[in-house]
């Protein structure tokens, strides 16, 4: 399930829906991204997330489909916020469930890595350095790239 919203989300409630009544699920992995108060040398007062309505939902659904094609997942949840956020605020929740822990963990890691470079969001930070758009990072490209090697039924990029 994909949710793109301005409102905050409740992590516990969101995760509970993924496993409720499902006794075949053995593993629930999740990742939450939060706004940090520091960017380089500057203190951050706020971060405004701009997105591309319509395309955002399509891109996230495509990333979810890619994860489901690679791992045997029971469910996938992506909640991504937009709008003005402050340090400590939640930005994104990614959660996966599976019978097995490696599938859930790897798919969760994959999803957040791909989100970083393949979901149409742009971040404007405001703080002690003035307002500045967050630049894409090479390390995020590298993180997304490392999942490219084995397109299907990948068990884990850590095992060889």
């Amino acid at each position: 399930m994909i949710k793109v919203q301005a409102e905050d989300f409740d992590i516990g409630a969101a995760l509970a829906t993924l496993t409720a009544g499902k006794t075949h699920v053995g593993a629930l992995a999740s990742f939450v991204g939060l706004v940090r108060d520091i960017a380089g040398e500057h203190r951050i007062a706020s971060m405004t997330l701009e997105h591309y309505p319509g395309m955002t939902e399509r891109a996230l659904a495509g990333i979810e489909a890619e994860a489901r094609a690679r791992w045997p997942l029971d469910d996938v949840l992506i909640v991504h916020r937009y709008g003005r956020l402050e340090p400590g605020d939640r930005i994104v929740l990614v959660a996966t469930t599976s019978a097995h822990r490696d599938a859930a963990m790897n798919a969760c890691h994959f999803l957040i890595d791909w989100l970083k470079t393949k979901a149409p969001f742009w971040k404007l930070e405001d703080g002690s350095g003035g307002a500045a758009w967050v630049a894409a990072r090479d390390s995020d490209d590298d993180a997304a790239e490392r999942w490219q090697t084995s397109p299907t039924a990948q068990k884990s990029p850590t095992s060889t």
Partner: protein, 83 residues
């Protein structure tokens, strides 16, 4: 043709999008960008370095040499920073 701008592409151009009618010889996204750069300083600033400009046609990512046609929704923006 609907054109949308995001991130610092939008900041520099100054509008979130516009309805445009480029001439008939604008056949690709790259052609469109060249044509847009002629519209003013903000556009020229936004598209100065094409290595950091990304594009989507009808909400799907596209290369700059991808064809575009009347009725398309074309979006131009910096590399994405989600998550």
């Amino acid at each position: 043709m609907q054109v949308l701008y995001f991130g610092w592409v939008r900041s520099k151009i100054g509008v979130p999008g516009e309805d445009i009618r480029p001439p008939a010889d604008v056949a690709t996204i790259a052609d469109l960008i060249v044509w847009l750069k002629g519209r003013g300083h903000g556009y020229a600033e936004a598209f100065r370095d094409l290595s950091i400009v990304r594009a989507a046609v009808n909400q799907e990512m596209a290369q700059l040499d991808a064809p575009i046609r009347a009725g398309d929704e074309v979006a131009l923006f910096p590399p994405m920073t989600g998550g």
